[in-house]
Every structure is written in structure tokens, then in C-alpha cells.
Subunit: 155 residues, 2 copies
């Protein structure tokens, strides 16, 4: 599990022909192991447990991974960047989901179908960014029902 992602990460970094450093491998492995997009803080916390990598280095590694398309960064209105390992299943242009309750951000694999967003005359549209907001599986009504039942069982 953890070891496997680590090796995958190392291979991916090595493939870029650039230097294979602990920091790069560790950050990429963390992203690969994550189910959702991670903030800088989440990444740092998960890494610092083992190695003592400086936060500036984490920032620089994230920037590097993004430039090499090994990761992509997602902007968010809470003014915090979130990062995701670039997996093949989500194509170049994909939408994102942001949970209104826990704040978690998830990539939506399926290509988004946006029909004709008309821009004013003279404007030229180049790309479309789309974010769906709502409740994730962990925060939705089903999950709340589950946790209510759990509470009843406890007594």
C-alpha cells in the first residue's frame, strides 16, 4: 500500500529525467495515496510524520510537480490551493466538486458537457472552468442517517 505508491511516485519522478529527491517522491506519493485534493497543510502534515521536510520545499515541490503535469492545482474561494496527482482517468479538462460542508474537493472524471456559454461580442472564449458545489458522500443526508443510527446503537 503506502510502499507501493512510494515506488510509483519514484518511477514517475525518475521518468522526468530530473533529480529524484526525497521531497519530490514523498509529496507525489502523498498525492497519489490521497482520495481527494490536498491542501499544502494536509500534505505537510502527512509528510512531516516521517521526514522533516521544510514547508518551503513542499511549496516548491508542488510547483515543480504541477509544471511537469505530475500534479495539478485547483483554486478555491477559500484562497487555498489544493493539489491532486494527475491520474489518467481524469482527462485534461475536468470539473471539480466542492463539498459545502467539509470543504473537501474532488475531481470529477467524466468530461463535462457545457453547451454554449455565450460571451459578449468581441470576447474570445478559450477554456471553461466548472465547479459543482454540494454535499459529498461523507456529508450527505445518507451519511448523516448512518451516523444517527450509530449514535442510537451506542445508546
Amino acid at each position: 500500500m503506502a510502499g507501493a505508491v512510494h515506488e510509483v511516485a519514484e518511477t514517475l519522478v525518475r521518468r522526468t529525467r530530473a533529480r529524484v529527491t526525497r521531497a519530490r517522491v514523498a509529496v507525489l506519493a502523498t498525492l497519489l495515496a490521497a482520495e481527494r485534493a490536498l491542501t499544502h497543510h494536509e500534505i505537510e502534515r502527512r509528510i512531516k510524520r516521517n521526514l522533516g521536510i521544510d514547508r518551503v520545499t513542499v511549496y516548491r515541490v508542488l510547483e515543480w510537480l504541477t509544471a511537469r503535469d505530475l500534479a495539478h492545482k485547483i483554486s478555491d474561494d477559500d484562497r487555498v490551493w489544493r493539489f491532486n496527482a494527475a491520474k489518467k482517468e481524469h482527462g485534461r479538462r475536468h470539473a471539480h466538486f466542492k463539498c459545502n460542508s467539509c470543504g473537501g474537493v474532488t475531481c470529477l472524471d467524466k468530461a463535462m458537457t457545457v453547451r454554449s456559454v455565450l460571451v459578449p461580442s468581441g470576447f474570445r472564449s478559450q477554456e471553461i472552468e466548472l465547479t459543482v458545489k454540494g454535499l459529498c458522500a461523507g456529508c450527505g443526508p445518507a451519511a448523516r442517517r448512518r451516523s444517527r443510527v450509530r449514535a442510537q446503537h451506542r445508546h
Copy 2:
């Protein structure tokens, strides 16, 4: 012109039954007069020419206007909020256009037509946020052609 927006702004603020202050009227008037969404800095610059209102006050007024739906704020991946007077022509949910060249943000009045963005099972979609990126009228190829001609004329 400038005087007219000012009076409109004053009326709008008075309608809320809250206190009508110089700062509130000035900020709202600035937003009403603007053709595009303005950053805090742009607003402050345009106001400071006349009155000497503190930047913190501008922040608080913007927050207040937003809460009263007299303005709405737009998040942007440059980590800067932009504000727009809430005009009736752009409905409650509308898309935004961000120019990749000058960074300007414009509200897109027309309702956006997004068909079926499918979210993972267990997820519940509540709202959709859409940003079109590209070149605005002032930065597009037509505008560049115009400015090239202007340069030729100059010699």
C-alpha cells in the same frame, strides 16, 4: 454621470433602512459606475481621490453590501476578491468571464446552460459555478490589430 450613480447608490443604501454613510454610498456608486468587477484596490484607488476612507472601512462596506445583496463578490484564482454591483440584468446564478491577458472579470448576464454534470454516487449537487476564460474585447486579436494600426499612424 458620476453624480447620478451617486444618487442611485444613496437611494439603494437608504432603502435597506440601515445607516446611510459616506463610505457605503461612495463604494456602491463606484461599483455601479464600473463596467467590470473591481478589486478592493481598484475601489480604494477610485474613492481615495475624493474622500479619504480607510481601507478597513472599504473591506467592511464591501462585506455589508454583499450581505445586503447590493453587490456580489467573485472569487478568483489570483486570491483576490472582485466585487460587482448587483444589477437586475444578471440573474441570481450567472457565469463569469476572466480575461487571460488583463485579468479583468466580467459578469455574463445570460443564464448559463450546463447540461448534466454527473457527480459520483452519494454526492448531492447544490449549485454550479462556471468561469469562462479567454480574451476580453480590449485584449482580443481585433483590439491588437487596432493598436498596431494606431502605432503605424504615429509613424
